[in-house]
Subunit: 181 residues, 2 copies
DNA sequence: CCTAACCATGTTACATGATAACAAGTCAAC
DNA sequence: GTTGACTTGTTATCATGTAACATGGTTAGG
């Protein structure tokens, strides 16, 4: 089950729970954040991209919560910290992160989220909690395989797939009021 | 294979090809269009919605091509035909169609497309050709099942899923120039 | 028939999301 | 130290989506 979908096993050993529910389950988030930043730096070194101040700060902002953030929400944060206050500032940093596999774009929300497994290329499925806005990345290989089967019958050549589910995370399902931060 | 995913078999018998590749394969499109309109009317009768002039015209516009259209593109068409020229006119009609299962919203494109199988509730996967912009609806039951398995492990309760693939349709794969209309 | 309630349609104004085009600063290579 | 690639910033504009309100039609009761 694990071998079919390579996940981050180079920097820190992860339990099975870590792989699929890091956002919903309580966890040591500062470690979570630090690990993602480390892996991001590694990945950029391999790829040749430059981790500049705006880009790093943008990634840190995305990593603070397990939520997707709108570009303008990110921009406000950047502007407040002395970076530029015009939309392209945020869009360019976000675009860079997405292109280098350090963040994902969420189509359903017109928003962006830090990638939790930046160690390698991957195209996960997302679970978006409509109550607390948290986000989980799932290994989507089986889902993609099912889709590829169907598409193959029609002769359609799939290049990129978006798989995003909206629903309730375990915490919010139990406690329909405000879930814990 | 067919029984697990109910598809339109009440109005016109459909071949297997009709079910999955109506947009990419050459076909009698005016029949295709007429059938979808009929089924839409039936469905609305069951549900109690009113098929008013703007709504009908909006659906017809979406049905003309097997493409997704932006709300403002629809609005231009409506305005040119004497309907209102302000955004809410188009958005309201489109929202109505989506709510009643007569059209779909494409997240990747910020756009809308007529449903080709409005006979019943369904949540298909979409194949979007990046060359000719045509669109196909696939029965997504197997894909959804694969996703439900994964989500179930995390305790996440999936409510709605978006599955959209971008790629090349058979015609455009053969002929990278402009495919036939 | 008249009216109240509801819904559909239209408007204005605004909020949010995204990009084009250009100017200026940084930095390494030569 | 100058060239050239890249990064960051700006202004201006476009695209997408909604809130709030006014008007007009349909319909059920009186
Ligand atoms: Zn975390
Ligand atoms: Zn939640
Ligand atoms: Zn057709
Ligand atoms: Zn095509």
């Amino acid at each position: 089950m694990i071998t079919s979908q390579p996940e981050c096993d180079k920097v820190t050993p992860l339990t099975d729970t870590d792989r699929t529910t890091p956002a919903f389950a309580p966890h040591d988030h500062s470690a979570c954040e630090a690990r993602a930043l480390d892996e991001a730096a590694d990945r950029l070194a391999e790829q040749g991209g430059r981790m500049t101040p705006v880009r790093r700060r943008t990634l840190e902002i995305l990593l603070e919560s397990h939520r997707a953030m709108g570009a303008y929400e990110v921009l406000d944060r950047l502007a407040a910290e002395g970076f530029g206050r015009q939309p392209p500032v945020a869009y360019r940093a976000l675009e860079f992160l997405v292109e280098h596999g350090l963040a994902h774009r969420l189509q359903r929300l017109n928003a962006f989220a830090a990638c939790l497994h930046p160690g390698h290329d991957h195209a996960p499925a997302f679970l978006i909690c409509r109550a607390c806005d948290k986000l989980a990345e799932l290994p989507a290989a089986p889902v993609r395989a099912a889709l590829a089967d169907l598409a193959g019958e029609t002769g359609f050549a799939v290049e990129r797939v978006t798989i995003e589910a909206v629903g309730l995370c375990p915490a919010c399902a139990e406690n329909p009021a405000g879930a814990e931060a």
